[in-house]
Symmetry: C2
Subunit: 537 residues, 2 copies
């Protein structure tokens, strides 16, 4: 960490999330954000924001250091959480996650052992607050950051990392492709409370001056070892782009759109040989388990437009990813599977069904999918639609898409817009799955809305400052924050008063909701149907 970072330029926690305080639960210090309401109630929400107020040049506290030290001291060789889980051991990370998700630690262990969930936690990333990715847990969101040869700096990337977790990103991928890759990654890792993913083939490509055909397994393993030793928690590896599948993309509208997929396709064609990531997969597994890096098996042949969705190339690769999953599992290495991309709504379900069947229920991790191609500048929305649906169907983690997708590199505003759109999609999926407890925040906010507790409504929302700003655009006076009306209906008339009258009426007539139903649909309705019959004949 040679470069000097300026003072972080993102606003402080309290300013972004007013009315909230961070609480560390239990001996493990599991983070939670508690929102204090004006009526005395408290609502606790999942918290990804990480420890606050630390100098980024010093990095975050090393929460996991003692846990890992004990494992090294006793001479462990395979550090994978799956390895421990299969041997019946509940690690500190699993207990941490259990508290965080309000489930039994044994359930966490069993899901990891089965491969249905992963706990990405490199032993060299002690700053990590453990989290879990699996379809029987809360749906997670990944945010991509990273500079390219054309734009952005290390400082900006660390800012984006902190900004992404502030708004709820559960993991962050560093997709940098420019210079200073190692240094950028180091800054990011030392300041990240969430798992960091990378695509190591990008760095490998830099080392051969961008000539894909000069890549080979030895170089790749070297890069892998270096990045793993820095603490990267999961690697996207495009081992499913097999030589035989490449021609399947020839008739596509947009060919191969994955950067990693393109690199490997080019290598395969140049040598007319099988993908070295495929043939060398077991050697890759050796590095993975040494540090407990999880696989994120890349979908290098994902569709780049709705026209190419669900084609032969895509599903051929998915089948191969399923085969590789079994190999990784034989090494006790954790695996998730990357998915598309661009898929119209009626073809989304098939992606989930095929993934579950072909990949043995390893967690699915999808990019969107975007449900139409006609809205560049708004692809956080085109894709939030697909993301919510596939999350409901069983996808465990959603990779965000920002408004800049297809157009440019996301800046800080884009990162926030992308994370919030995806928190919406993930939460909508949790609700649709009837995930235990997911509805409590919605209900608390609805009650606050109904009772005109404006400040509570703001503070319970995903973005309190924006909600308040929008309210104040029409009614800026401080008094309006306690007023029993809003600018939509004006002071004269409001539905809340009516509902109070309805409740009084129901009470006066001694009606419970059920009785009201019976009365309503019984005698009263019959009476009016008779009247109606007279009127309408």
């Amino acid at each position: 960490m040679e470069a000097s970072l300026p003072t972080p330029r993102i606003p402080p926690f309290e300013e972004c999330l007013p009315g909230s305080r961070k609480v560390l639960r239990g001996e493990l210090g599991v983070p939670e954000r508690v929102i204090q309401l004006s009526n005395g109630e408290q609502v606790a929400v999942y918290d990804t924001t990480g420890p606050q107020g630390h100098d980024p040049r010093m990095g975050l506290p090393r929460l996991r250091a003692p846990w890992i030290a004990a494992r090294i001291a006793r001479g462990d060789r395979n550090f994978s959480q799956m390895h421990y889980a299969r041997r019946g051991m509940v690690t500190e990370e699993m207990r941490f996650v259990a508290l965080r998700e309000n489930v039994d630690p044994e359930f966490v262990r069993a899901e990891i052992a089965r491969g249905r969930a992963i706990l990405p936690a490199n032993r060299n990333h002690p700053e990590l607050e453990p989290m879990i990715i699996g379809r029987n847990f809360l749906v997670k969101v990944n945010a991509n950051i990273g500079n390219s040869a054309v734009a952005s700096s290390i400082e900006e990337e660390v800012d984006k990392l902190q900004w992404a977790v502030r708004w709820g990103a559960d993991t962050v991928m560093d997709l940098s492709t420019g210079r200073n890759l190692r240094e950028t990654r180091e800054w990011i890792l030392r300041n990240s409370p969430v798992p960091i993913g990378t695509v190591p083939i990008y760095e490998a490509l830099e080392r051969v001056q961008g000539r894909a055909e000069d890549l080979d397994l030895e170089l790749f393993l070297e890069v892998l070892e270096e990045q793993a030793s820095q603490g990267v928690d999961y690697f996207t590896i495009h081992a499913g782009v097999r030589l035989a599948y490449v021609p399947l993309t020839a008739g596509r509208v947009t060919g191969i759109v994955s950067r990693g997929g393109s690199i490997m396709a080019k290598w395969c064609l140049a040598h007319h040989r099988e993908n070295f990531l495929y043939t060398g997969f077991e050697r890759i597994c050796e590095v993975m388990k040494k540090y407990d890096v999880s696989f994120s098996l890349g979908d290098g042949l994902r569709p780049g437009c709705t026209a190419d969705a669900n084609d032969a190339a895509q599903f051929a690769e998915l089948r191969t990813l399923g085969e590789l999953t079994e190999i990784a599992w034989r090494h006790d290495v954790q695996v998730m599977i990357e998915g598309p991309g661009h898929v119209p709504m009626h073809l989304i379900r098939e992606n989930m069904d095929q993934q579950l069947a072909l990949c043995h229920e390893a967690p699915f991790y999808t990019l969107g999918p975007l449900t139409t191609d006609i809205a560049p500048g708004y692809d956080h929305i085109t894709s939030a639609i697909g993301a919510a649906m596939i999350g409901w169907f069983g996808t465990a983690m959603l990779c965000y898409v920002t408004p800049k997708e297809h157009l440019g590199l996301p800046d800080r505003d884009d990162v926030k817009a992308g994370v919030i759109a995806y928190k919406i999609a993930a939460h909508a999926a949790d609700l649709a799955k009837n995930h235990p407890g997911a509805r409590s925040r919605d209900d608390a906010l609805s009650r606050a809305r109904f009772e005109f507790r404006w400040q509570d409504q703001f503070n319970l929302s995903l973005d309190p400052v924006t909600a308040r700003l929008y309210h104040d655009a029409t009614l800026p006076q401080e008094g309006a924050k306690t007023a029993h009306f809003c600018s939509m209906c004006g002071p004269r008339f409001c539905s809340m008063k009516i509902t109070e009258e309805v409740r009084a009426y129901a009470k006066e007539h001694g009606m419970s909701a059920d009785a009201a139903l019976a009365a309503g649909l019984g005698e009263k309705a019959a009476e009016f149907r008779e009247q109606g019959a007279r009127i309408y004949r």
Copy 2:
């Protein structure tokens, strides 16, 4: 039209939609927007923008005036398009719509006769460019505008109207509740190329100084007659809020949230009598058919939060709306049915199924639905998810939600954000329904993207200016608009080159896509599976 309007303040058509020109097709002058691409191709898209360059103080040209004059001259009494359709007559409006939707005029007539589609077109709104709402046509979008007692002016509302249709709104509702209701409406109607809807009970309430209990049928019919004679194309009427259903809302988290629903519930409770809109429904039908105003039967008991979705109150009202539909149809009056609101994803399908069954396939017109309550400030996104899904399931028109929903009145930026989010939802639904021709714009844009025709990609998008702005944020140089790379991957590496190589490879090896598939999954795959078997054991 007494007030003087300033020069319109929205930017001109050409500035918002560069590379496009408006074309009027056929003798009826059906509008179309033709996007000229740099490779010589043209893409024609549905156009709602209306005639350009007219002085709003003079209003738009009266396209339908001669058609209507002929009907009056021959002494017609029922001007409803359904009336004509059922008598086998294909009106000019139906032919217009057929050209606009690229279908047979006889199909349009049959769908209207069956009640499965409506063509809202008041005979006193000659400025209208006819359009159709039904699930066998393109999914439509409504934008709400309107001032309240607290904020905004007539000028702003006319601006918002023009702005909404510029971005693709298919109908506009004037929900004003403040002063100058009649005057605001007049300005809007005379300048609207799209159907205008209102909620007449708002004006009725103003006339009784906000005292709901003072409302009665005679006053309501008076308001109805006045608004109909001005040219309003559809009325939201909350005739399904029956006395017996009101107590069913007592146990809800957010009670009754529809303004119109609240007004009628209050009236019912105050008098302990049946809703006069229900008992007087046939008299209302008389006014509707005289002008051909369509019913938008209001869902006054729609859920105001996800917790209240799909409850007894909501479905009791829906059943009544189905009964009222049959009555309206006996008068040859066109009907659509309003729907929720706030519904988690797993409960959306039931809304559509129930509506189709209970309301005899009359078109469904839903507000969102919002799929979670936790994101005020972003409810255009929470609801675009639900809107896309219910559009796919069969909803004919989607009522937009803006970022200001629940917080304040939408300004012009919010109107645009809402319309674009809903154009995305509607188009995603058209794609999922495999609507004929829907995919051509997506495919044209994908080809432009793949071939680095940046300007074409911008111009084909829903919002060309924003797309270009986002691109230029990273690569502002004019040369970058023709460059074969972008800021995401940088100049060194790009997937397009790879795909060219893949195509060359496939061609060189004499492979069609099918042959490649066979080769890939056949011999090649078998060969590598054997290798794999050696490697992995």
